[in-house]
């Protein structure tokens, strides 16, 4: 994030004049026009982006907000007040979807948050082949999600999947993986973690490499072992990145859709992999209830906005640190 500059229209003379209580007159207008001319090229460059964002981003957002309070019936669009929200809250799938989403988020934090950090620690310990290992870890991210999902579908298949073959070889009981209400979500999270952990690992690795070596040396002189070095040096030194990544993960995993949708064809066994975004998709495209879809989107938005605000606060701390 770059530091904001002072507004250019706030020329020093204008500020002084305003401070002395006189109304800004032609001179300040001239100054403003001069500033405008000065920045004309910048503004004209911005026009394209502003138009694009207006059409494809901001306008849909406003529409979505309006849709959440509208109903369309027999060709008439009417204001529905809180009706859509009531419909969404009354839907039995609402709580099921939140349960699924929070379960995914919880499991993804345990797995998707810890695993990349540990992998980064391990890679960081290597003196050689770091670049190769980095590439190796990042490769799955480059795969199209659909390809990864198909791969995992084969691995998980209860009949001829690789995972069950391995269990069989080890004389362990076979699992139903995605085909069992109790293990479906965990299986989805494992696949999602494998698919997405590359990015997080690289970020942790960068953070680890920024930790000054003297600290480790000092810790070693004090007789700290590997675990104590990690606990007393690495973790405090990378705390901020860790907490930022935690929030990023929460924001990302709350919107999970692709993995459960593709791995379990949507709702999963007994609805155990239903997520909020999948429910939004169902409302909009299967039940043609745009109002309810927008209302549920709004509920999710409010939650995510809270997390985003926390994220911003944290990143500001990071900036100021």
């Amino acid at each position: 994030m770059s530091a904001p500059t002072l507004s250019t229209s706030e020329q020093p003379e204008a500020r002084i004049r305003r401070a002395s209580g006189s109304r800004p007159r032609a001179t300040s207008r001239e100054a403003f026009l001069r500033a405008l001319r000065h920045h004309l090229s910048a503004h004209s460059f911005l026009i394209g982006a502003v138009l694009c964002f207006s059409f494809f981003s901001w306008y849909p957002m406003v529409r979505e907000f309006l849709l959440a309070f509208q109903k369309t019936e027999d060709g008439r669009t009417t204001w529905a007040g809180w009706d859509n929200l009531r419909t969404v809250f009354a839907d039995p799938a609402f709580w099921q979807a939140w349960r699924g989403t929070l379960l995914f988020t919880g499991l993804a934090l345990v797995l998707g948050f810890a695993v990349p950090f540990v992998v980064a620690l391990v890679i960081n310990e290597f003196r050689h082949a770091q670049a190769y290992l980095r590439l190796l870890v990042y490769l799955p991210v480059m795969l199209p999600p659909v390809a990864s999902v198909l791969l995992f579908k084969y691995l998980y298949d209860p009949g001829y999947g690789l995972f069950n073959s391995i269990l069989d070889t080890l004389h362990l009981p076979q699992q139903q993986w995605l085909q069992d209400p109790d293990t479906a979500m965990l299986s989805v999270v494992i696949a999602a973690t494998w698919m997405n952990m590359g990015g997080a690992t690289l970020i942790y690795l960068a953070a680890l490499q920024a930790v000054p070596g003297e600290l480790y040396e000092a810790a070693e002189l004090d007789g700290a072992g590997l675990l104590r070095k990690i606990w007393h040096v690495t973790v405090p030194q990378t705390r901020l990145i860790l907490s930022l990544m935690l929030l990023m993960q929460i924001i990302a995993t709350m919107q999970v859709f692709t993995e459960p949708f593709l791995l379990t064809n949507g709702a999963g066994p007994e609805g155990s992999t239903t997520t909020v975004v999948y429910l939004i998709y169902q409302y909009a495209f299967n039940f043609n209830d745009y109002g309810a879809a927008a209302a549920l989107g709004l509920v999710l938005l409010v939650l995510l906005a809270g997390f985003s605000a926390a994220y911003v606060r944290l990143s500001r701390t990071a900036d100021d640190a």
């Binding site: 994030m1 530091a3 904001p4 981003s57 901001w58 306008y59 849909p60 957002m61 529409r63 979505e64 907000f65 849709l67 369309t72 019936e73 027999d74 060709g75 008439r76 009354a90 839907d91 039995p92 799938a93 298949d157 209860p158 009949g159 001829y160 139903q176 085909q179 069992d180 209400p181 924001i251 919107q255 379990t264 064809n265 949507g266 709702a267 066994p269 007994e270 609805g271 939004i280 169902q282 909009a284 495209f285 299967n286 043609n288 745009y290 879809a293 927008a294 989107g297 709004l298 999710l300 938005l301 995510l304 906005a305 985003s308 605000a309 994220y311 911003v312 606060r313 990143s315 500001r316």
Partner: protein, 478 residues
């Protein structure tokens, strides 16, 4: 001091800006319902319309100048179908030289629900647009289709009296007609003939009851090599759809006659669920991989890994054209139970606000292309010459003389052993429409299906009563 103030002002400015950014980011993440549709021809754009009769029931005046945009024209990948479409346009233009038909083709399916709903919302549907029977409610909610009751008569559609009234009634609401059918289907039991023979079963006599289905499935699964006897959906709302089809076959119902209460949490519902559970877990005749949806079972049966599943005849066309299967390898029987069967189909509607001449031109085209025995889609000799399949029991909406004539022509030009569908054709089962709020109900019933098929210890009573509660809630929110 100054630096501290600057810093504070900087951070508040930053906070405001970044909070807004955060809010916008979150908004962007959740607002993905922007409609992107295709543009339709503007009504009467460039047409000097007129010259037609003011009587809506009269056929189109050949002198009337009209441009019609129509979707679901075959894409270039379907060369033979596209050739036939273009031929039909030329033939049609001999009678109506002033009607310009602008076909619009889409890759993949003619109608994909997300695209379709967006199109309706944006009012960007073409003048004549393709829909499923089940879309009527949605189209009317979006004020998308013209009422064509006055225009559709036996003068404009001569074979009108020979079209199955059940089909016409699914295009009618409160006495007003909104569309003309293209095709229709009823669900039956699709079988893989070679697996039937290998298992020592008679492919000309597919199972007619669930007890017979269970026995046959066990025999087929006994072949080993990962072959399943009977397959079933349990995801993407298709599980609920098939639970409904099974219930209909046995004379049951999903929603009671009042339309306000679920009607499947009873002895029949339990029987259906228990039978499937027993086939999956006791007989192990349904394969281990579940959570399947439309497209998955087709792949299995086309690659000789599945013996039977509930399907409509057009699934066979899909498997032959997309999956390289052979017509000879399939057969069909009526749905087990034969009390009634789910039926559906597709049709064309005409955009609301179209001029009378446009509506008349659209009806003239639809009549020629889709509703005349021996012409357009029913020109079976041409279909055969173009290397396309003839002989499937679909479309299947003719009655009386038209049926006799069309059946004879179909049999004469058949490119597949029509005897394979004899059990299905000789035992017609009365069609029954989907329940209200069908997709929502199917989603709930998906949980019943996936519970039965993925959980060995599934509590069937609990699955059904939970589903009943949820369906009642959906119906109460109508």
């Amino acid at each position: 001091m100054r630096s501290a103030r600057f810093r504070r002002s900087r951070s508040t400015c930053r906070t405001r800006r970044t909070s807004a950014a955060a809010l916008l980011t979150a908004l962007a993440l959740t607002a993905s319902l922007a409609a992107c549709g295709t543009s339709s021809s503007d009504n009467g754009g460039g047409d000097s319309e007129g010259g037609g009769s003011s009587d809506p029931s009269a056929p189109l005046d050949p002198k009337a100048k009209v441009t019609l945009t129509i979707d679901c024209m075959p894409p270039p990948a379907k060369a033979a179908e596209l050739k036939e479409w273009n031929e039909d346009v030329r033939t049609f233009n001999k009678t109506y030289p002033n009607v310009r038909i602008e076909g619009k083709s889409t890759p993949g399916q003619c109608l994909e629900p997300p695209r379709f709903t967006a199109m309706l919302k944006a009012k960007s549907q073409p003048d004549v647009f393709y829909t499923y029977f089940t879309d009527l409610e949605q189209v009317l909610d979006n004020d998308g289709a013209a009422d064509i009751s006055a225009y559709v008569t036996d003068r404009t559609v001569p074979a009108l009296g020979d079209i199955d009234p059940d089909v016409m009634s699914s295009l009618t609401k409160e006495g007003k007609l909104y569309g003309l059918p293209t095709s229709n289907y009823t669900m039956g039991l699709l079988i893989n003939r070679s697996l039937f023979e290998q298992a020592g079963l008679d492919p000309d006599n597919p199972p007619r009851t669930w007890a017979e289905v269970r026995t046959a499935a066990k025999a087929i699964a006994g072949l080993g090599k990962g072959v399943a006897g009977f397959g079933e959906y349990s995801a993407g709302n298709t599980g609920g759809w098939h639970f409904t089809a099974t219930t209909y076959g046995l004379g049951g119902d999903i929603v009671d006659t009042s339309g306000a209460k679920a009607a499947f949490n009873n002895e029949l519902g339990r029987q259906i669920a228990q039978n499937l559970h027993a086939m999956r877990w006791d007989d192990d005749s349904m394969g281990q991989t579940q959570l399947l949806k439309w497209g998955d079972l087709q792949k299995q049966i086309a690659s000789d890994k599945l013996g039977m599943f509930l399907a409509a005849p057009d699934d066979i066309t899909y498997m032959v054209q997309q999956l390289g299967a052979k017509y000879e390898n399939f057969g069909m029987g009526p749905i087990p139970g034969e009390k009634s069967t789910l039926f559906g189909g597709n049709n064309y509607m005409i955009k609301k606000g179209s001029s009378p001449d446009k509506i008349k031109a659209a009806i003239a085209w639809l009549n020629f292309k889709n509703l005349t025995v021996g012409k357009g889609q029913f020109a079976w000799s041409r279909t055969k010459a173009d290397g396309l399949p003839v002989g499937l029991p679909q479309p299947n909406f003719w009655l009386n003389d038209s049926k006799t004539k069309d059946d004879a022509q179909r049999a004469q030009h058949a490119t597949m052993p029509v005897a394979n569908f004899k059990a299905f054709m000789d035992n017609p089962v009365k069609g029954k429409a989907e329940p209200p709020k069908a997709q929502e109900i199917y989603k709930v019933l998906d949980n019943v299906m996936s519970g039965i098929l993925t959980n060995k210890d599934a509590d069937i009573d609990k699955l059904l009563s939970t589903a009943e509660q949820q369906v009642n809630q959906i119906l109460a929110n109508q």
